[in-house]
Symmetry: C2
Subunit: 233 residues, 2 copies
Amino acid sequence: MAIGQNAQADMPSICRSCEARRNGLCSAFNACQLSELAKASSRQEVSAGTELPDGETYSNILSGVVKLTRKLSNGRQQIVGLHFAPDFLGRPFEPRRPVRAEAVTNVTLCSFPRSIIERMMQESPRLSGKIIEHTLEQLDEARDWITALGRKTASERVASFLLMIAVNIDPARHSTDFELPLTRAEIADFLGLTIETVSRELTLLRTDGVIEIANKRQISLKNVARLEDRCGD
Amino acid sequence: MAIGQNAQADMPSICRSCEARRNGLCSAFNACQLSELAKASSRQEVSAGTELPDGETYSNILSGVVKLTRKLSNGRQQIVGLHFAPDFLGRPFEPRRPVRAEAVTNVTLCSFPRSIIERMMQESPRLSGKIIEHTLEQLDEARDWITALGRKTASERVASFLLMIAVNIDPARHSTDFELPLTRAEIADFLGLTIETVSRELTLLRTDGVIEIANKRQISLKNVARLEDRCGD
DNA sequence: CTGAAACCTTGATCTCGGTCAAAGTATGTC
DNA sequence: GACATACTTTGACCGAGATCAAGGTTTCAG
């Protein structure tokens, strides 16, 4: 159709192959909005371990994984959220409690000024809807982990974690082979456990033939059905 | 001002004294939208223990407390959210995992058909914004509890819970005297503990002079500063 | 190759909170 | 008043996961 082709022609070239246009934030924009945004956007590479200052931008994650962490007294900390490409970071309204965002792996971002997105939200119900949908997805996931942290055993949590990583690391084809983006310490901070317990539960899954582990980080799910059985829900 | 007075005059009488207009969902509507909604709204009393079917309506909670529960195998369950008046229930997009909503106390609701709210969301950025704000608040709260369940001790969780109830049960004046809306079993399902541990931690707070307990449910905070110290964050 | 730093695994022991058991306290019904 | 039901408290004991300790593996610099 001619209209579709024109829209294609008008679309900023940088956006054409971008994953964020498929289900991400940018799926809410038309070609006109995309070209306005593309002018104000900036792409950046962030290396693992860098803190991402929150506040002034909305960013599509083009590749990599970002963690959100909350701190308690005695050096305790808890990961309260994980974001995978092609997710996005940024929100209207300030969170009431401080949360630290940090790149877990090397990360590629495509960032827009806060002001443009928030103006467009006033004009485009489609964008507002996308942000509502995204926030509700995060809320549903947060509630999954509330349930896991409140009522699941250590081995159920580790099993649930592996499945969650598998579906998020490559949303297109739910791969059974993937590299863990998190260290054992980060997995522990996510699951409310200690490094040692995470390590023990992983070895248990390995010796039971449910998974294989190569090089500490490379996971291969050998029996997804049995892994699901061990999730406890 | 004349305009303001006309708006007052046009406002449905049923809405005039309603708390939901202050910070709740209805603060997003003008007098015209309010009268359209008032025609389609229905008020209902729901007694404690009743399940609230989700899906077909959005409802302001005019009084009472509602819990959201998720179930696991072995009869385990976890409360994943609490709603106090003048909060509202209802969401666009289906949750991917089933959640059961149940009245914890007797509850008064003011309900609107889903279709009207979702049409108005298309037309009114103010309403979309309100829903985004509300969803983000729930997400922030969920993350508070992720942190508590993952990293806080039993006594820190109980202390945090009491403070949370105190600020939510009566948002206007943070009362230090209130009635616990939940049974010990429900508190346990919220905090990821057992009934016995909740009971022991409450007696500990009482014998330490931090709170007083009358009639099992009537709580009086005697030393808010010391209660805050015991929250662990 | 050598050494150091960071990360991971495994074992021994301890402890917080769970489990099991029994008794106490409201509230309502006949 | 007697009894039943639902909820709560308290005590004794136990076990899942934490803590403490030691050693293994990987990676990288020189």
